[in-house]
């Protein structure tokens, strides 16, 4: 807990005087500890002179921010039209079954969190998935299984 507040203080100090600094601060917190703990709201509120409701509103408005810790890896499956045209529906059904979870859930061993995403900007090579910060194109169920296996190995 002490560690969390030390980290938070440093990040807040860095972003406190930045115009429109709330989003960059939230990104920095999530990059650093993986999510935005609601216990951080108090400190942010005081430093940026915002109400808790305003901070909660921003955190929950954006799909990217999470308030609970994710698994060790985040796997995003693109659900947008281009990937649908190349069979992403079957791919998402497969991966949900393979990992035994639905979207926004984390596997029991905490290895993967599964999220939908709406376009990864690689539509010439659909269907696409993103594992942590890397996109993988022209994905098949077999390649995705291999990717999952390789990641936890």
């Amino acid at each position: 807990m002490q560690d969390l507040h030390t980290k938070l203080d440093a990040l807040i100090a860095k972003h406190q005087n930045m115009p429109g600094g709330l989003l960059p601060l939230l990104h920095a917190i999530q990059d650093s500890i993986g999510y935005i703990p609601e216990t951080a709201y108090d400190d942010i509120s005081k430093a940026l002179n915002l109400s808790i409701a305003e901070i909660h509103g921003v955190v929950t408005f954006y799909h990217h921010f999470r308030t609970t810790p994710p698994g060790r890896h985040v796997l995003q499956i693109c659900r947008a039209e281009s990937c649908q045209a190349m069979g992403s529906e079957a791919l998402e059904a497969h991966v949900k079954q393979h990992l035994h979870i639905d979207y926004h859930q984390t596997t029991l061993d905490q290895a993967f969190t599964l999220e939908p995403v709406y376009c990864l900007g690689n539509c010439a090579l659909s269907p696409n998935v993103m594992l942590d910060e890397e996109v993988h194109g022209r994905m098949t169920a077999a390649e995705l299984d291999a990717l999952v296996a390789e990641t936890v190995a």
Partner: protein
């Protein structure tokens, strides 16, 4: 001698294993004691050939692709470093028809240069536009942009010069240039290619915009799904600062322009300019009422130019070669070139920059090579998730803003997503409503509630509950959303929905009936 090999760092190439290919080339060169210099360029945009590896020869660059890491030893074995034949040999890159037939103005350097090398940028005509702009008055810079006929490439197609003129005319202690790099439309990736493949051209365009309207601060609002673009942009901005192309005294002119990248956070609606500004201010991305226009009261209440990546990245060539040079391309009121992105079920997906006027059919078949699945292309969606679906009978429509609006369609950001004949258009219409419901900012009722009701009504049609009555209801709901929404999200969701219903009415029948028909056919 030292050989030079180009291996893209573009995330599309990385998605096909470019990093592994690069490592394999380094390893193999070491094993063989060969001196190989690797340049990590952007992508040429011939994505079905990624990872496309190029080697410099006295005759020009020679390409090989699509290369996997496992192909690397055989490439060395075949002596690819001296451009020798191999199963993946593609010949001179510039002679590949897909590339040779294009008119690359905005994308002139993408895939050619090292994206983060300022020297490379300068050696390929970089910053010539800025040098010219520094000699012009503000009004003359704006006039050049107006005369070029450039219209906003983000999708709305509003004349860029007119927008700039409004900001120039405003008196204010602070003005801003904001680059909308929240490229969320499915089927589009040209912004990403510019930012990863030639970030300096965007920086130069924004700097010229700053000089033109008297803005000293710029922001690039970049979607969070593009981590590689974030890296290249920041590296390029740092290099530009070091060399005085950004900062308090640009090239000794006494002019100031600062630039910062801000990360978005996965909200599609923040691609709408007022919602984007709210987000940049650190708030929820709720759409603002207009007026006031952002050009008059934009970021932090100050006059602000909000332009798309492609619009801004096109400014340098206009200032370098002149307004007339650019305006000579195109047709009707659509001047210049459009970077088109071929996507979805397409054999040769990639970036095709052409003057306005090419037809969809040329793009889908001459460039795209037909569908990836080999089945007939039944529908294409042009212009992202808010664009209309077009049937085969409309494939001869030229790509031109006005021609598209005549058939109740939009060009948008130039993304073309192809679907083969296995697509169920009722499902796509349902998805359009579903996407709107997920991404609605919630400020206006037609979008917030209408999208959810839309999903429910389409479900009823598919379940066979009073289909005729419910089809009428979808039309009525679409009318409300079209006319009553605050921004394009709710206001254009009816485009994919109604175009699907109008052109593919046979799909809007109960699922049970479709199953029965399929059985009869079998």
């Amino acid at each position: 001698m030292t050989y030079t090999v180009y291996i893209p760092r573009d995330s599309g190439a990385l998605a096909m294993g470019a990093e592994k290919v690069a490592n394999a080339v380094i390893q193999e060169a070491q094993n063989r004691g060969l001196a190989v210099q690797i340049v990590r360029n952007g992508s040429r945009g011939l994505y079905w050939l990624e990872t496309m590896l190029e080697v410099a020869t006295p005759l020009g660059r020679v390409a090989y692709g699509p290369v996997k890491a496992k192909d690397v030893p055989s490439l060395f074995e075949a002596d690819f470093l001296n451009a020798k034949p191999h199963a993946l040999y593609l010949g001179l890159t510039e002679e590949i028809p897909y590339l040779k037939k294009q008119q690359r103005l905005t994308f002139a350097r993408v895939g050619v240069t090292d994206p983060v090398s300022l020297n490379d940028y300068l050696a390929h005509d970089g910053y010539k536009g800025l040098h010219n702009a520094l000699k012009l008055t503000q009004a003359d810079i704006v006039k050049n942009v107006t005369d070029s006929g450039l219209r906003g490439r983000g999708g709305a197609a509003f004349p860029t010069g007119i927008k700039w003129n409004t900001v120039l005319a405003c008196q204010a202690d602070q003005k801003y240039i904001v680059c909308n790099a929240d490229e969320g439309d499915s089927g589009t990736y040209s912004d990403r290619m510019i930012m990863e493949g030639d970030p300096f051209v965007l920086i130069e365009g924004m700097t010229i915009a700053g000089l033109a309207v008297g803005a000293t601060q710029g922001y690039i609002y970049l979607r969070s799904e593009y981590p590689h673009a974030l890296v290249t942009l920041n590296q390029a901005i740092e290099a530009a600062k070091q060399a005085n192309y950004l900062g308090d005294n640009i090239l000794g002119s006494g002019k100031t322009f600062h630039l910062e990248v801000r990360r978005a956070a996965g909200a599609y609606v923040c691609g709408e300019e007022t919602s984007l500004l709210e987000s940049l201010e650190g708030k929820r991305g709720l759409v603002r009422f207009k007026p006031p226009l952002p050009a008059i009261e934009g970021l932090f209440g100050k006059p602000t130019v909000v332009n798309n990546v492609i619009s801004l990245a096109t400014i340098p060539i206009i200032l370098d070669k002149g307004a007339q040079f650019y305006a000579d391309y195109g047709m009707g009121r659509s001047r210049g070139t459009l970077p088109i992105q071929l996507a979805g079920n397409i054999k040769h997906g990639g970036l095709v920059e052409l003057a306005f006027g090419a037809t969809l059919r040329e793009l889908l078949y001459d460039y795209g090579g037909g569908s990836a699945s080999g089945r007939p292309i039944r529908a294409v969606q042009v212009g992202g998730p808010l664009g209309a679906y077009l049937p085969e009978s409309q494939f001869d429509t030229p790509l031109d803003y006005e021609e598209f609006s005549k058939i109740w369609a939009v060009l948008g950001h130039g993304g073309i997503v192809a679907f083969d004949d296995t697509v169920d258009m009722a499902k796509m219409a349902r998805y359009a409503f579903e996407f709107c419901a997920i991404e609605s900012c919630g400020k206006c009722t037609p979008c917030r509630i209408g999208s959810t009701r839309g999903v429910e009504v389409i479900d009823k049609i598919m379940a066979g509950t009073e289909p005729e009555k419910n089809i009428e209801l979808v039309r009525d709901l679409s009318d409300t959303m079209l006319n009553g929404s605050l921004c394009a999200l709710g206001g254009m969701t009816p485009y994919p929905v109604l175009s699907a219903m109008n052109h593919f009415a046979e799909d809007f029948v109960p699922n049970a009936y479709k199953l029965q028909q399929a059985k009869v056919a079998a």
